[in-house]
Symmetry: C2
Subunit: 136 residues, 2 copies
């Protein structure tokens, strides 16, 4: 929250609540989940304000959002983690990995088409081992 003040933004109750929800969440959460106070565990707030604050915080680089398949976008603090995601398109489960875990993939991508791959906004999609076993 010091970071919020440092950039000249006000630390209002609604803003603090967004930050607290993201901090308390165990993974990326939807705006609806934040507005509901993580389903009652925290005071709830207005959905439009949540979206506005997420936008603001994302512009400051404190928050990121990821699209884990269809459905609403999910938001997370970018500060500490910088995590990247992998989703299974069959069962929908996702795993969060430290960027280093995917450096081998990044190298392969660079070799294949020259891009610098990033999996924090659009996750790496595929079929998880469990689903792959069922498919065969």
């Amino acid at each position: 929250m010091a970071a919020v003040r440092a950039r000249g933004l006000r630390l209002s109750a609604a803003r603090r609540l967004v930050l607290e929800a993201l901090f308390a969440a165990d993974g990326p959460v939807g705006a609806e989940g934040i507005a509901s106070g993580l389903d009652g565990r925290l005071p709830s707030s207005d959905l439009a304000s949540v979206y506005r604050n997420l936008e603001t915080l994302e512009a400051l680089g404190l928050v990121r959002h990821v699209h884990l398949g269809h459905g609403p976008g999910r938001y997370a603090l970018s500060g500490s983690s910088g995590l990247e995601y992998v989703v299974c398109e069959r069962c929908g489960e996702h795993v969060a990995l430290a960027p280093e875990a995917l450096d081998g993939v990044r190298d392969a991508v660079r070799e294949a088409c020259g891009y610098r791959a990033r999996f924090s906004h659009l996750p790496l999609a595929g079929v998880c081992p469990a689903c792959a076993a069922e498919e065969d």
Copy 2:
């Protein structure tokens, strides 16, 4: 279109138009683009019917859709190509590649987390060489 008949579906004008638009397009197109007849080059049709037909054709395995970043989904014939996509999250440009071109990436993904990677629905995201040069 033979494939459509083969599965017991009727080949109506609206349905044919969706197929023709996808065939005439040079890449994945949005539903709006199909409904507008690729901006006038073909007769236009009703947006709701376009969505319904895309859904039907996708269920038959004739059509696929890909999410190239924010904005509406894009649809393409799956028949001939089976292409996979790579998008630049900075400039928005995308490239379509034959699956084999990304087999090295698939191997790296399997090694990193056991998943069977697929880039036809959620593209491989990153920063393209041109944007990477500008960033540095």
